[in-house]
């Protein structure tokens, strides 16, 4: 039987955004992944989104702060105009705190939930705020693949880049549930990665990536703390790829997707 992806799907990376526990941005993550700086565990730091008006900024939820932080970092890295970019959001879950508050109230006699809580409950809430903040009217995809969310998001991003021939910003991210849901889904904290992919190389291209399917085991991170992030935050299944990118090395990594299907990614720095 033929492999799932027969010909490599190739795109170029122009910008990277990153945020994870102990790794507040791509510059820090890059230094740690290059071995120039030790990883220091810490809670994720979510910056106040300067792009939002003050009232909205104060109300912004954790997933909105997370996605604006990494998406805008990747776009700035590529000097891209966010108002023109197609986006693919991929997340293993929606806003866990908002979900808990709704379920808690719906279990009481007073079921008159807040309309804001309701519209923030949709899986595409962060994507909706992204559009409002950036004024981007381009296509915006929002995917869930549970633990396979990064791979699912990458595949659809490659589809938009290669088939629709448009630069597309992948924003893969996850966040935590409070108790009691946390005991059922133990994502520890917020984390995510944003990659701006383009259909052709440009002067700003950092590297090309070529994706094929495989059934090999995914590569793990040698550092136990980083391996913990890779395993516990689905978007960070991308870490082996990001390590190659950080080191500016050519190479091939296998990333977890949806067993038995995994993604083989060949990276070639520009």
């Amino acid at each position: 039987m033929s492999a799932c992806t027969t010909t490599p799907l190739t795109a170029w990376i122009e910008g990277i955004g990153f945020l994870a526990p102990g790794l507040p941005d791509w510059a820090t993550a890059r230094a740690v992944l290059r071995g120039e700086q030790d990883y220091a565990a810490a809670a994720s730091v979510l910056p106040a989104p300067a792009i939002l008006p003050p009232a909205e900024r104060r109300r912004a939820s954790r997933v909105v702060k997370l996605t604006l932080a990494i998406g805008l970092e990747a776009a700035a890295h590529a000097e891209a105009d966010v108002a023109t970019l197609a986006t693919v959001f991929s997340a293993s879950g929606a806003d866990g705190h908002n979900c808990h508050a709704l379920c808690e109230q719906l279990a009481t006699d007073d079921r008159q939930i807040s309309p804001t809580r309701f519209h923030n409950s949709v899986h595409n809430a962060a994507a909706g705020y992204w559009g409002i903040a950036t004024r981007a009217m381009a296509p915006c995809q929002v995917i869930c693949g549970f633990d396979a969310s990064f791979g699912a998001g990458l595949l659809d991003t490659l589809g938009q880049v290669i088939v629709d021939q448009q630069p597309t910003l992948l924003i893969a991210y996850d966040s935590e549930y409070p108790e009691p849901l946390h005991a059922k889904r133990d994502t520890p904290d917020c984390g995510g990665v944003a990659l701006l992919l383009t259909p052709q190389p440009t002067a700003r291209s950092l590297a090309s990536l070529s994706v094929t399917s495989t059934e090999l085991a995914a590569q793990t991170m040698p550092d136990p703390a980083l391996e913990g992030l890779r395993r516990n935050i689905p978007a960070l299944r991308s870490l082996p790829l990001l390590q190659l990118l950080a080191r500016g090395e050519a190479g091939t990594v296998c990333l977890d997707y949806l067993p038995p299907m995994q993604l083989n990614v060949a990276l070639q720095p520009c």
């Binding site: 039987m1 309701f118 595409n124 981007a136 296509p139 869930c144 009691p180 849901l181």
Partner: protein, 397 residues
């Protein structure tokens, strides 16, 4: 885009299970809406509830997926022998070459709502029998379908509120174009839950009567549930006459508001224009538009402006939500199948419940169904967060 073949399709809503019930309901102008008696919900509203969902028994090996949403997945898959056509496609292409692309807005959140009523009084813990991954999570329906058919290829759930299961057609078409798969199971499933019923009520968007899309006195939606699926494959060299084709898809964002559409329907217009470009068609070549038409004052006004700006007032159009209710994340797929039925059976579907057209909206709006020869149909789906998707379907001559 390269046209794709809907080699089989099915829909299950409050009109009934499968295509025959759906087609008869549309022809007869029947509505499946009933006054809300769902679960313990106390709201003065009407809903589109699918009969027999909770009688579905999942296969023993998949019982960890058991919840109302996945029971509805199974009910929908087994209607019209659709599941057998999926198995035949897997036999043709291989279990790694059939992808799964399913849309939902709330998946099995009802299971979590019910679990929150059974928390441990001392610790607050959820009950041991509650499984988050295979019931609540937005991917649960796609993972269930993948395991139901023993597939080993790509799978994803799209969750962009009420445009979810329109956007799966676009996502699947991209993977078919890339060559990463040879067939795609696309569709949408959303089931009734307290979050959406009380949520839309909190926004004052539920009607206390059966919803009346595009009516001068429309005052909100009737929440529905549904499961609709299609099998997308590359087109044979000479498609059989009457084959239903996916010709184009267009996606856009309002970038305006979380729960209100752009007042001029700008995002909606961009999506319809993109779908026409994708299909290589002009506005004049569209013979029927299945409107999003939720029956909220704001949606229908904005969509009506966008449609009349682009198509003028001469294209027959209707919302079928007076028949099915608003099936939310399933609406895109349900209405894709309604377009397929319209094209395949020469039917312009009417709009049960709508009595007096809104005179402020200038469209050729179909109050009742009538026969017609159609070549191309466009379907609109718009969701919270300003997510828009338009699809264009055709029929092989």
């Amino acid at each position: 885009m390269t046209p794709l073949h809907l080699s089989s399709y099915t829909a299950t809503t409050c009109l009934g299970p499968g295509l025959a019930a759906t087609l008869a309901g549309l022809r007869d102008g029947r509505s499946g809406l009933q006054r809300c008696t769902f679960e313990t919900v106390e709201l003065d509203t009407w809903i589109g509830e699918v009969a027999g969902v909770d009688a579905q028994v999942l296969p023993p090996a998949l019982k960890h997926y058991d919840c109302r949403n996945n029971r509805l997945v199974q009910l929908g898959l087994e209607a019209d022998g659709f599941a057998d056509t999926v198995r035949a496609a897997i036999a043709r292409h291989g279990k790694k070459r059939v992808g799964i692309f399913l849309g939902t807005s709330t998946a099995g959140i009802l299971q979590t709502e019910l679990a929150y009523r059974r928390r441990d009084p001392a610790s607050g813990a959820l009950p041991d029998d509650f499984i988050y991954r295979t019931t609540h999570n937005s991917f649960s329906l796609a993972e269930f379908a993948r395991d139901y058919f023993g597939l080993e290829g790509p799978a994803m759930a799209v969750s962009t509120a009420c445009s979810s299961s329109a956007k799966v057609f676009a996502a699947a078409a991209r993977q078919l174009a890339l060559g990463s798969i040879d067939a795609a199971l696309v569709g949408g499933v959303d089931s009734l839950c307290l979050t959406t019923l009380y949520g839309f009520a909190s926004l004052q968007l539920t009607s206390s009567q059966p919803c009346r899309p595009y009516d001068a006195e429309r005052d909100g939606i009737s929440v529905g549930e549904g499961a609709a699926f299609a099998l997308l494959e590359r087109l044979p060299a000479e498609p059989a006459s009457g084959s239903i084709l996916l010709l184009g898809a267009g996606e856009s964002s309002d970038a305006y508001h979380m729960s209100s559409p752009h007042p001029e329907g700008l995002g909606a217009r961009l999506a319809m224009e993109a779908a026409l470009r994708s299909a290589g068609l002009t506005a004049g070549q569209i013979d029927y538009i299945n409107l999003h038409g939720t029956a909220t004052p704001a949606n229908d006004a904005a969509e009506g402006k966008a449609v009349s700006t682009l198509f003028g007032q001469s294209v027959p159009c209707s919302s079928t939500k007076g028949a099915t209710g608003h099936t939310l994340g399933a609406a895109g797929a349900v209405e894709a199948v309604i377009c397929a039925l319209a094209l395949g059976h020469g039917l312009l579907p009417g709009s049960p419940q709508t009595r007096q057209l809104d005179p402020a909206i200038g469209l050729d709006y179909l109050l009742s169904s009538r026969p017609a020869t159609l070549r191309h149909a466009l379907s609109n789906s718009f969701g919270f967060g300003g997510s828009n998707c338009s699809l264009i379907f055709g029929v092989a001559p």
